[in-house]
């Protein structure tokens, strides 16, 4: 929740329609100056900020619709800070020239990507099938292929390195043999002429949905497709534009499986995602996970401030999730910001680098742009 300026908003009956939406007034370190739609937003340092006026006098956020152009802008000086994609980080920023002018940073991002199963699907109802797919998925190939190695395997819905993360849950190493064995146990023993498993006359074929325009997800899907083909499962890929994706497929639970991601919030309570009461249409437990133990543990975790008690509950939840595999947890990427070298005062931490933005400064000799007083 943010603090809102009552004295400016109280005259509007519907604050979502007030002019402050285009000219916000707040309590942050920077003051809004202008917004040229589709082009840029400009902020000037606020002398009234409680931590003291920021050193950097003006911040301009530019709207550049794609990563490639953004990167070209970075190199030609039109942009000072941006988030790099893995290929840019690995391949395009290693020259001596680049390193003279820019500083790269790397820290674990607060999010993970997963393959979610609709648990009411007749085949995915079977735990062994889900576990088989987990073994079939080559997570290292995913990290190397999609993230160029800049990430780590996800074993659950928590960020590695944080207090709630349980490093000792059941893992699913890439093991096509084990995958086939599990599938056979679940009744998928016959193989058709095309190499795809059959049971009761049906081919093991399903469609995975993911949102269009996301290169990382498209690549993830392509790699998983190959992984699953190896064990006899035919996975078709369908990309849907975001709004239709959420509206027509996720919210209405019209999918076999999805490739999606979650942001990991600082507080480990994930009630909305895992509790059985949250499986209604449009609610966030879209796979339909319902486990009485997890329900109870989620309630426990929310119900106390005692860190130790909470930790126990969340650790146990992760054990159950690892066993049940309602998702195949795929990977946690690294966040890759890059900043022009003239900015000083940056102190990388697990929380990132911009948490102390108000303390960043540029030594006088290196200043490029001056704000006219």
């Amino acid at each position: 929740m943010h603090v809102l300026p009552k004295h400016l908003l109280e005259q509007y009956s519907d604050i979502s329609k007030s002019p402050l939406n285009k000219k916000p007034v707040g309590t942050g370190p920077y003051r809004f100056i202008e917004w040229k739609t589709g082009e840029k937003v400009v902020f000037d340092a606020s002398p009234d900020y409680f931590e003291g006026k920021p050193y950097i006098a003006r911040v301009i956020t530019r709207v550049i619709p794609d990563q490639a152009t953004m990167f070209l802008e970075l190199k030609t000086g039109g942009v000072d800070i941006m988030t790099l994609t893995p290929p840019q980080y690995v391949r395009q920023t290693e020259t001596a020239d680049f390193r003279k002018s820019f500083n790269k940073y790397k820290y674990t991002a607060s999010g993970y990507t997963y393959l979610g199963f609709r648990l009411s699907h007749p085949w995915f109802r079977e735990k062994r099938v889900r576990q088989a797919i987990a073994h079939a998925a080559d997570k290292k190939a995913l990290i190397d292929g999609v993230l160029l190695g800049l990430g780590q395997e996800a074993t659950g819905p928590y960020k590695p390195g944080t207090w709630a993360h349980n490093p000792n849950v059941r893992k699913y190493p890439h093991d096509p043999e084990r995958a086939r064995a599990l599938l056979a146990e679940a009744g998928w023993k016959e193989k058709g002429k095309d190499g795809i498993l059959k049971k009761d006359g049906q081919r093991f074929e399903f469609t995975v949905l993911t949102n269009a325009g996301n290169e990382a997800r498209a690549k993830t899907a392509a790699i998983l497709q190959q992984n699953l083909a190896e064990v006899g499962i035919a996975m078709k890929i369908r990309t849907v534009e975001w709004a239709a994706f959420i509206n027509e497929f996720i919210d209405k639970r019209k999918f076999d499986a999805v490739i999606l991601g979650w942001n990991i919030t600082p507080d480990p309570d994930q009630f909305d995602i895992w509790h059985s009461s949250k499986t209604g249409p449009k609610e966030l437990n879209h796979v339909g996970f319902a486990n009485t133990d997890v329900d109870r543990l989620l309630d426990e975790g929310r119900g106390t401030f005692d860190l130790e008690k909470r930790k126990k509950a969340y650790f146990r939840i992760q054990e159950i999730l690892a066993e049940e595999q309602p998702y195949v947890f795929l990977f946690v990427p690294e966040a890759l910001p890059v900043v022009h070298h003239r900015f000083r005062g940056i102190v990388p931490a697990p929380a990132g680098i911009t948490y102390n933005f108000v303390k960043w400064y540029v030594p006088e000799a290196l200043r490029k742009h001056q704000v006219q007083p």
């Binding site: 619709p65 802008e73 030609t76 239709a244 027509e248």
Partner: protein, 324 residues
């Protein structure tokens, strides 16, 4: 002449009605209907708020009533509010983007005019020469090359390797602090690549057309007469032949409006230019239906205008119509 123009204008009316019909039908083809995407994205939208929206947009009324309302709203350019998070009126978003798109397209039309015509004329006058042959090859290549590919290659060459031209946006970061002349120069530099590429396709077509037109005209009797009168070749070419060959030029330029608009989607997206084309692309990607319909309709209006101009140009050129 006046009669011709007024007759032409009258013909525009059924076209406008037709445009409204087609767009109306398209809107109702969208999955989820005209308001579907807007409310379903928002998890807080309840059944009642969606019912309210339905009533507001009149979607619970019979189809012909809805069409009537649409017709009225189209006349006032009221396309509703955009589905994007800023929820601003569509016409406002278009209005702030149109100037830059029009600027680039007008400039590229100018480029076409200035380059294609001399090339076409010279090719015709020196038919079969090396120049003619080279320009023919260039023209055919121009027809066949995917312009977005060319855009990428130019960006790399001029933007990155040579660093001569900026490769995105329409002004530099410190644009505000430049003097007036500096500002013009800055804008100019940013527009070079987009204008060049926007005009590229039209260049090929126009020079080809000019060439064949010139060839036709040169063969005419009055040219032979002028030559027989002993007039210098240059006068023959410029005064007699060219004037007649050039008259249809306005027609061509007017007719090229829809292609230029279509092309602007690609260029503005590649070069990150905040014009109507980029807005359209973003609207398509985010299924912002009111925005899509708004730009489509405005695009149709502009095309209609271009056609009108083309016909007027044609009328000016053809003395039979001019007199009548």
């Amino acid at each position: 002449m006046l009669r011709y123009i007024s007759r032409r204008l009258l013909l525009t009316i059924p076209l406008l009605v037709g445009i409204s019909l087609v767009s109306f039908l398209m809107m109702h083809m969208a999955p989820g209907g005209p308001i579907g995407a807007g409310t379903d994205l928002n998890p807080k939208a309840t059944a009642e708020s969606r019912a309210r929206l339905k009533a507001y947009y009149g979607l619970d009324r019979p189809l012909h009533v809805q069409y009537g309302r649409w017709l009225g709203r189209m006349a006032t350019l009221d396309f509703g509010d955009s589905f994007s998070p800023d929820g601003r009126p569509v016409v406002e978003k278009i209005r702030e983007r149109i100037p830059i798109t029009l600027t680039i397209n007008v400039l590229s039309m100018g480029l076409i005019f200035l380059v294609a015509i001399p090339v076409g004329v010279y090719s015709a006058v020196r038919k079969g020469s090396l120049f003619d042959r080279i320009s023919t090859v260039a023209v055919f290549t121009g027809f066949a090359i995917p312009t977005f590919w060319l855009a990428l290659l130019m960006m790399i060459l001029f933007g990155v390797k040579l660093g001569w031209l900026p490769i995105s946006g329409i002004s530099s970061l410190d644009h505000e602090s430049l003097g007036t002349l500096g500002k013009i120069a800055d804008r100019g530099r940013h527009l070079v690549l987009p204008v060049l590429l926007a005009g590229f396709g039209g260049l090929a077509g126009m020079s080809r057309y000019t060439r064949s037109n010139m060839l036709e005209v040169i063969r005419q009797d009055y040219v032979a007469t002028a030559r027989a009168k002993g007039l210098p070749e240059r006068t023959v070419v410029f005064r007699h032949a060219m004037r007649n060959a050039l008259l249809p030029v306005i027609t061509i330029l007017g007719l090229s409006v829809p292609d230029l608009l279509g092309g602007s989607v690609i260029f503005e997206t590649i070069f990150a230019i905040p014009g109507m084309g980029q807005l359209f692309y973003q609207g398509v990607m985010s299924r912002d239906y009111p925005l899509i319909m708004g730009i489509l309709t405005i695009g149709a209006f502009l095309t209609l205008l271009g056609n009108l101009l083309a016909d007027v140009g044609y009328a000016l050129a053809d003395p039979r119509i001019r007199q009548g």
